[in-house]
Amino acid sequence: MNPETLLAIIGCLALGGLSAEALLRLKHPMANALILNLMLVAGSGVLMAMGGLELAGRYGYTLVIAMIAFTLIFLFSPLILFPLRRLVEVIKFATLVDFLTFRYRGGAVAKMTCVCLVAASMPLFLAQFFALRSILEFNLSPELQSPTMLALLLLIGLIVARAVRSDTASYLSRMMASAGLLLVLAMGATVWLCIDSVFGGVDAMNQWVERSGQTAILRRENPAYSIISIFLFASFALPLNFNLLISNQISDRLSSSTAYIYPLLTLLLCIPVLPILWAGSILEPTFPPQDYLYVLPAVLESEIISGLGSASILLLSLSLLVSLSIMLSRMILNSFVLPDKVFHRQPKLDKWIAQRITLSSLLLVVVALLLDTIVAGLSVTDFYLIGFAGLAQLTPGMLAALYLPSVSRRGFLIGLSAGISLWFATLVLPVFSGSWSGFEAYTGVALGMENWHIWSIEALLVNILLCTLFSSFGKMDDEQASYARLCMADNVYVPARVRLDQVSVDEVKLSLQKSLGDSAASEVDSALDELGLNASERRPAALRQLRDQLSASLNLRFGVLAAHRVMQQTLPFRPSIKNQPDDIYLIESMLAIHGGRLTGLASELNKLRVHHREVLDNLPIGLIAIAQSGEILKWNTAIADYTQIDKEVAIGGAIDELAQPWQSFIDDFLTADTPAQDNVKLLVGEQTRWFNIQRSVDKSQSELGADRVLLIEEQTQSMMLMQSYMENERLASIGRLAAGVAHEIGNPLTGIACIAQNLRYQREQTPIGKSATQILSQTDRIDRIVKSLINFSRGESARRESLERVQLREIIDEAIDLLSLSDSQRRVEFICTVDPLLHVQSDAQQLIQVFLNLFGNALDASPDDDSVTIAAESLGDTVEVTISDRGAGVDENIQHRVFEPFVTSKEPGEGTGLGLWVVFNLMTDLGGSVSLTSPARDSDRGSTAVMRLPCK
């Protein structure tokens, strides 16, 4: 035992830990990328630190090609990893077993895959123990080795317990990143030491290589094909690679860094292998090549570099034992225990699961240690080769999941069973029981590592062949087929538009409680947070999203099988997932987010989709699409304006959840016999509105599953205009009738006047004569009124071609008289201060109409017992007439628009908004102008209408 080396090991471990911590604290994207890739390096670190040297010694350059193949999964990540990540975004699964169970369905798949993965990973456990033993044997005296191994076991137990209880990812990431970092440093330092001390420089080494014929040795014939194929296939199924790269804690951008950083690090770790190997062949230590990383520096008397090598291998072995055992334990739990576990009866469920994972991890480590004591005569490389040959059996099923939807569960299970059985019989069993002479005699090829290159490939080929054969015969059931399509690399997850029994978040919580107990509420709350939904959500589409999110989160927590059982028991779809139309709402949402990923025809189709959606959204009439289930699929901008219900609120919701009166309005129409109705009256608040409404003809055979489309067009303005015209027409009729009546009144009135004159003449000085005078006065008044009515009723026909000189005061008085005939009971006084001598060039009838409108407005605006003031002033060529009231005035917002048609400050139903528009047009015809100011001149309220009329 060398104290300096031990000190160096401890120092290097501390240095590695601190460096990884510093990298983590940097939180820089490059630092994060480096940590992730160092963790990946650590995942196969012992292979690179020890196995690489031995592989290079055995197979020469094949090592380089094998390691290239090992990193190809990352280089080709757009084909393998990114499709997987797309799927994980939606489905969420934590392990390879869960992915394969999700794709091929059923407990048998979970159990079979789990058993295969555990069996194939066991040689990797043994490789780690082998590495630990080698380190201990080199650095410690024999009596200290067993106690130290026991101490390391305890340490592994503690780390596992801590990692399972706390945040596994962050805790283990520190350990693995520091292990990877130490390995890179150790390889770099060792190769530098070897080249410098053994060869005396790079040029000298190159000359030595040429002289000694090492290049020819490196290029020798060997079973390269098997090694490359198995390394390539194993890298897909390596649990650590899979778990790290599909982790939802790693962003897409970060995971993409593995496409070049991880191969680069592996390259940097492989370059030193050959120089170290050559230095070993010169120094010829008593240790095998797999120990050169810490042996050669010791031989060259560099205790620190030797300690660095030992520390890196020690930390790599420990971190892989911990991480691999936790991963496999979770798989075992998800496949064998949790699918049948009654969760709500288990208090402190998460703690219970953590305990089981810890116990299971420790059990796996102990089993591996026991096997390590039995197995003898194998190297680290042998363990890795056996393990990789086993792991490679899972890759055909995994690749088929992404690219071959016709591969069935039966094909997968039979292929995997046959492949793993052949692997076990030909490569694993001979390790324990030696070769089977009967089997060897039958095949003619010896079993075990001697013919690893044959058996590993044959097991893989048998797997692929049987999988293909049994998938080709027989038909997959609908469930399998739908999940097979779902897992395809170029598939977009399209959830079905189905309804849940639950109609609110509270009901979802209550249902989930039946299976999960008290933890259901927090599970639902965190799912709501994740989706950005609130607890009052009742829209079916939102509840479906919530269900999907819950399912994904339970997949991560309990595995696919248990999560599927919980969801089926508590939140089943109604009636069945099959034959339901796609969830258009979610497809739209997903395409809006991920549309940028589309290429080629899909991208063009997406552009077309966006265009059509915009056309529908911007239609000037309201459009609603409703599913058969009553769910709103489309709600365009116009209908949102009509109803004041945002499309974000409406879409995805049920039609019977809409606010009144719209819910009844749409519902009544949907159940009506006629597919179109015109001018349907609807009271919205206190306002009456009219709509034309049409619906699509029911096409039950259509692809859309008989979704109904409603077109709604507001007709309120048209209806108001029409009503105004009808009112005007009625008033015009009355006017014409009044003219006739006035004419008919005129004749008897003349008779009455004549009789009254005679009577007054005969009885001039008597009271009867005085009464006759009064009768004459009253008949004069009636005569004036009747003439005014006749003149006004002539209207357009009375309009003169040219303007005439009219006395303004007379016109105003006549207008006031006419206004007093209206049925208004208002007590408002008209005070006219207009000079009787003022004259204007105008048309008397049109001017009366102008004044009638303006006086009418002033009368309506004025409070009772108030007055309206009319004044006029000559301004040379024009006369300015002002009409002022002291009413409420006109709102500033509409002052500039009061002369436009249909603009009114009166309450709905009280005014048509056409009076001032008529005034404006008549004044323009008369060559004058009109304006309105509010508040009134010389006042803080009311309004003043200012007219300017030509007087010359």
């Binding site: 350059y61 496409a259 290429t599």
Partner: protein, 58 residues
């Protein structure tokens, strides 16, 4: 979504470039580090492909 241009490029790479690169790397008169140069070029191509990817995340 599967990028078919990438698939085509990788297929071409495997069909044409890889055998040529292997032959060059394994020439008897070549330096011992030639395979590593090929590997480095592959890593660089991986970097170039990833650099031009469009990410949805901000």
């Amino acid at each position: 979504m599967l990028n078919y241009r990438l698939v085509a490029a990788l297929t071409l790479l495997c069909a044409a470039v890889f055998p040529m690169a292997t032959q060059w790397a394994m020439e008897p008169s070549g330096s011992w580090f030639r395979p590593f140069v090929v590997w480095a070029l592959m890593v660089f191509s991986g970097y170039v492909v990833q650099r031009h990817r469009v990410w949805d995340e901000s």
